[in-house]
Symmetry: C2
Subunit: 305 residues, 2 copies
């Protein structure tokens, strides 16, 4: 049997890594020989989770080195491996919108829940397969990360239930306290360059033919991020060198669930309409906005088209 690698999107976050580890384990029970890999180095938050549960980061790749692959937490070519179009995708487990064309039928399961790991939790439950403790810890961390400790508008009852159960399996007594530690680990920007912050979690979206890059960074002090020397100039530089039409970097305060955006590009009017306020000196206030998927992408897509 051919091995199949399992991976999440580029610029991996905790769900991209955790869901890959969980899916690699889960699909082994379906008689698929798997290996979890990642399309980039772990961020500070993911490192914290891996350390906490005594796990090793999956191997980092740029190009898939097996013909058959399993995708988690993404399905779009522009968020995936370089050789995406040469591969046979056998399974997808995801919680995003779909933009995919395949040549053959495959296993595809998506649900509009807060996190891919929530879906995998349900797979394990329905098939009555035991979740290894460490993997449960990564899945728990992934859900906390994607839902900002169950506060994001993407959060569903399924996510809440999965967190409760996974915390038990992972031996995490107080998931609120663990979750706040985890999220804070992700906000430690001291060792990160401006480029890390701009690109660390960025994804590309095609909106009405335009190439729109949207990043997000979590913090406990939005102004501290906005005032980083050279950050705006570096975003402007990134726009020019990468050929994006627009870049929006969303800076989110995990303590009060508000954001501000830094915007560079040609579609300022669409951005102002999408978020109902002015862009002043490249900054737009985004009160109550925490979810790229539920609040930023759909609103901006609508105004762009």
């Amino acid at each position: 049997m051919d091995k199949e690698i399992v991976f999440g999107h580029t610029n991996p976050d905790t769900d991209a890594v955790g869901a890959a580890m969980a899916a690699a384990d889960y699909f082994k029970h379906q008689n698929v020989e798997t290996e979890a890999v990642a399309l980039g180095k772990p961020n500070e938050e993911t490192k914290f989770a891996l350390d906490y549960f005594h796990l090793t980061m999956p191997r980092v790749i740029e190009k898939a080195d097996t013909e058959k692959v399993i995708l988690v937490d993404h399905n779009e070519a522009n968020q995936s491996v370089a050789n995406f179009n040469d591969l046979t995708i056998t399974h997808v487990v995801d919680h995003h919108k779909i933009d995919l064309k395949t040549d053959a039928p495959l296993f595809y399961h998506a649900e509009p829940v807060g996190c891919t790991s929530t879906i995998l939790f349900d797979f394990y439950q329905k098939d009555q397969i035991e979740i290894p403790k460490g993997i449960a810890g990564m899945m728990l961390s992934a859900i906390i990360s994607d839902t900002l400790l169950l506060k994001s508008p993407t959060t569903t009852d399924q996510d809440r239930k999965a967190v409760e159960q996974l915390a038990k399996i992972a031996d995490v007594e107080d998931y609120q306290a663990y979750g706040m530690e985890l999220l804070k680990a992700g906000t430690n920007l001291a060792n990160r360059t401006n480029h890390d912050i701009i690109e660390g979690d960025a994804k590309s979206f095609e909106m009405n033919g335009k190439k729109v890059r949207i990043g997000q960074v979590n913090t406990v002090d939005i102004d501290e991020v906005l005032n980083r020397p050279g950050l705006k100039e570096d975003i402007e530089q990134e726009l020019k060198t990468q050929g994006y039409d627009d870049i929006l970097l969303v800076v989110t305060n995990i303590l009060d669930s508000n954001s501000k955006g830094i915007f560079y590009g040609v579609d300022q009017i669409a951005v102002e309409k999408a978020f109902d306020g002015p862009v002043n000196d490249h900054i737009i206030d985004l009160p109550g906005v925490v979810s790229r998927k539920k609040q930023i992408v759909p609103n901006l897509t609508k105004e762009m088209e």
Copy 2:
């Protein structure tokens, strides 16, 4: 709560109708208000199944009349309702390749099994929901139809298991005997015009920018179909009036699982390469070919691209 209509592809076959009825019932248990509808009149086979289980054909529509919809047995716009791009797809249950782009996350479940109804059978089982007898009968009929009584190469163990179980729930004592009756009902071409035969089960595929129309008709006597007066001329006419680049009508003998194809169009060389034999006077021999999805579409796509 808004009602959501549930439908299969245009030119509905027994799975497009049966899976819509099953999904409408299943998703009611998930608190979605549903109505099964169909994108065309039932064929002779589907009529036989509906009559056998004392069921009424779902309402036939061309345009969706609810904003939210559930798709079964298809996901591609060109096999769906006219106003496809104005709709919000909330759920998809399918067993075909994927060619879909959505604006928002949704529930999407596909598996590479022989029939959509097999997947829905598994949904019912995993959630321990009882399948109504008539719906079990339609699901059984759909699997028999899609897999040519479990003989098509698309058939999986899941399909076989579902047929066994559904036959019990539907009170069908001998599913082999019932299945042969059902398939034969679908081969009764006496009351069908050439146009019915050409278009009855036809689907459009985009292959390397070309518009390829592929139909399939079941029979117990291939020559009887090939010798129908005016059939070839009517295919040639259809090609011209509808602006297709190619039309392939696959005529399948359900008794010995062989086919012959009638081909008109500009890509004869690709067709000859795809099926490893000559097209003589617009006829090509297709020994052992019974599955459009598994044998015809992938082979032809490969040669076209």
